[in-house]
Amino acid sequence: MAKQPGSNKITTSSTAEYFSKNLQQVGFSSQTKAILTTLKEAVDNALDACEEHGILPEISILVEKVGQGSLKNSDQIRIRVEDNGPGIDPEDVPKVFGEYLASSKFGRGRCSRGQQGIGISAATTWAQLTSAIGARVTTKTKSMRKALSCLVEVDIKHNRGVLKDRAMFDWDRAHGTAVEFVVDGRVQLNGEAGLLNYLSGTTLVNPHLTLTYKLPDFEPHRVDRVSTSIPEIPEATEPHPHTMKLGEFIAHSHLFGRVKVNAWLKKGFSRVNEGTLKDLSQGGFPASLLEKSVDSLGDTQFKNLFVALQNLKLMAPSTKSVISIGEEGFAKSIKRLGAIDFFAVVSRKPTICDFKPVQIEVAVARLEDRSVEAESAAQVLRFANRVPLQFDKSSCAIVHAIESVNWRSYGIVQPKNALPQGPYIVAVSVVSPFIKFKNASKETIDASDELVEEIRRALIQAGQKLSKHIRREVKANELEEKIRHIEQFCPILVDGLCRITEASAARRKKAEDGLVKILGRDAHVTKTELDEAHAVLEAQKSSILADEIIAEEVRD
């Protein structure tokens, strides 16, 4: 609601109006960010759609400059994302691309990338505001003979999608969607907030994705999938009473209409059962109220019921609702980031943090590429529900957790309370149906103590695994150093001793041989230690292999 200028009349704005004036809140705060957010929203939607329909995703991306933008110092950029997903029913197209808060995923308690149905409509709005043209959509479902091509625009006044230029045509594919935006912005390819970082992050946490992309100044590039297993989408779980606020609790009741309170509680919430209802009555909540219809409860009664539930000890929510990348997929996927010396992957069991199910997966790898400066911080890749997070790093739970680990004990350089240094990649994925983001543009995860601790544990496990590789390398370096020492210093030492004592050439030769023999024994000890370190590593590898074989067998 707002007062009209020059009058005292209070008016109501549509959701679309609100977001069109506040696009910075949803990731369009700068020209470079606008390009990244547009691409990200389109890719998120494509991946979610493929996953929900059990399709192995194949996505192709085109980002190109088409001219000068209307904004100051901007380019006009075409962004096209095409997928092999299920396609969209023509009647849903205006809702998906042109209506805010129209979502199939809102509040369902699933670990999908998109949640509220804001992002892609915001991208359409940005295109509309900067280029005066909405989103060009091409889509075809399995049941459609021809594909639909149309232009979707947001009716900002009424928060409604409007279709224009509708046409049907023969498309050489069974199903899929292509969406194209022409927007003003600037393309940033490199750096933490760059498109390349986003694309490599996306391929890392989606081992089953085949991605083709063409970016400005780059040759077309293809990244093939390394896994053919599509993540299983767990059933959505009902909300847990302890994760709700009173307002949400009351709003939730409206979804159930005229049912008894006890039936609503049992059906509409997870971890509420007969026993819970008994405990409620024993705790002083009137049993008669539980028999009443939920729509007859007044605000005070709702409040009493809510407080009574909060005071009860309930089982923690189920962890079955989280999606895992899996150690195997993560391990294969990390090799797609570039040549690496070694890596460690940890997939923690799903657990409860802040009363919400969450699963942490971590990959730490050392890059072969040594062009990065030794003192520069390790590259951190953050993911929330398998979407890369690229902004506002410092206040993120993931970064807090990485900084809290003592990486020095694993042989990695780390200034006090800071990120580790060197040619390392630390990738952390947080998956949860209820991730607490710090802002609407989902750029950073709120650093609660429990979540930071859970991430920290995963990182410690990964660090321990990685340290075996590093220790072996240290041993190998030690051996090399010792051999070099023997070669370098033995003759100098013996020469010096012989000069001072004026010893003969024969004594010199004998002493040199003796010294090499003594130091050779030391080198032999190091060699044995190296072999032992190698054996530990091999044992670790075979145990992982054995686990994989067992996992394969179980799947078969």
Binding site: K482, H485, I486, Q488, F489, C490, P491, I492, L493, V494, G496, L497, C498, R499, I500, T501, A503, R507, K510, A511, E512, D513, G514, L515, K517, I518, L519, D522, A523, T526
Partner: protein, 381 residues
């Protein structure tokens, strides 16, 4: 095995010969050096200084230590050449001499020192192996501290070429005599009877006392220690004690740092220099003040130890440990000094030597009067 100038080349040859013989037999050579630490310090009030205990540090030749050994033998050759020719150098100069040697002989490049700390460590290591002072290896530090004034003292120095130089301190006017790092070459005599020697912690205050006529009015030797006494100051005080048999008094701040790091080092040596304490300590020196009772008696301005001053807090912690572990402070003969440390720990206050100037701010000779009065009345520890 304490060494002397004459046997350094001999000792070095023996050491190298032993190393070579071990190597010929493919036996791992082990070098032993005196462990210079408080837990290997023994104090006997009859000697009056800290002496080494039986503990030794063993350095075994292995892959990790071969570089250090090779560097040590290389540096030893340079030092033996100096002893042979009579040339002397500072540690910094030796660092550059080493760099030059390596520059002209590429086969030695592996020995190259990255900075002076590395070559300094090697020189110290050689001293430990040979149990000698670096001055005996013709490696001298810059002379620091010990500026001395007297109207009675005469110093005769034997120069390297055998010539003798005679310095009559009464002829120097306001110029002080600067003792050398190698006081063994000096011979002291007195033109007239000398009553006492006063060692002042602050060289500035020593100069003030002289400027105000202290040495004119009193038959004395007055010198400034300039903080923690250097080898020159320590050897110089020992020389005054041994050759002139005059009472020595130390006048400095009343704090834990002065008591442990300055006065104890001057009187009984330090744990780090166990092997040279016999030549570099003056056990007869007494602590004239500032004493805890002086604060009340003269109404001196003292102040609490600053909790955030790392050096002072460290000194107090060290004082606490010293009362438990330091054989010097544990000896019954030094009960009075230990009591001062205890007072400092309990009261956590300090009083500077310059506080004597508060007694009568208009009389510049007031500190002198108090000092002489304290000596006369035996008010020292």
């Amino acid at each position: 095995m304490p060494s002397t100038d004459q046997n350094i080349p001999k000792l070095s040859k023996e050491l190298c010969s032993r190393l070579l013989s071990d190597l010929e037999r493919a036996k791992r050579p082990v070098l032993y050096a005196t462990k210079c630490s408080l837990d290997n310090s023994i104090y006997n009030h009859r000697n009056g200084y800290l002496t080494p205990g039986p503990k030794k540090v063993a350095t075994e030749l292995n892959v990790s230590s071969v570089k250090k050994m090779a560097r040590a033998i290389f540096m030893l050759e340079v030092l033996l050449r100096n002893i042979d020719t009579g040339a002397v150098n500072t540690k910094r100069e030796l660092y550059y001499i080493s760099k030059g040697e390596i520059k002209h002989n590429p086969s030695l490049r592996a020995l190259d020192f990255a900075d002076q700390n590395e070559s300094d460590d090697i020189i110290d290591f050689i001293c430990e192996m040979l149990e000698c002072y670096r001055e005996e290896l013709n490696c001298y530090a810059n002379d620091r501290g010990g500026q001395t004034y007297s109207q009675q003292l005469v110093v005769t120095e034997t120069l390297p070429d055998g010539d003798k130089a005679v310095v009559d301190l009464s002829k120097l006017g306001t110029t002080p005599f600067q003792p050398k790092n190698r006081p063994q070459n000096l011979k002291l005599s007195a033109r007239k009877k000398i009553d006492f020697c006063l060692i002042v912690e602050s060289e500035g205050t020593a100069n003030t006392l002289v400027a105000n006529g202290f040495t004119k009015r009193h038959a004395s030797i007055l010198l400034g220690a300039q903080g923690v006494p250097s080898n020159a100051v320590r050897g110089w005080c020992k020389l005054i004690q041994d050759q002139l048999s005059v009472p020595l008094y130390f006048f400095g701040d009343l704090d834990a740092y002065t008591m442990q790091n300055i006065f104890r080092t001057l009187k009984a040596g330090s744990a780090a220099s166990l092997i040279r304490n016999s030549d570099y300590s003056a056990p007869d020196v007494r602590f004239l003040g500032v004493l805890p009772e002086d604060i009340k008696k003269y109404d001196l301005n003292d102040y609490p130890v600053k909790e955030n001053d790392a050096q002072e807090v460290r000194a107090l912690k060290k004082a606490h440990d010293a009362l438990k572990n330091d054989p010097f402070f544990q000896d019954k003969k030094n009960k009075g000094l230990a009591q001062i440390l205890r007072w400092l720990l309990e009261n956590k206050r300090r009083c500077e030597q310059q506080a004597f100037f508060t007694v009568d701010p208009r009389d510049p000779t007031m500190p002198e009067k108090i000092i002489v009065d304290k000596i006369k009345r035996g008010n020292f520890v």
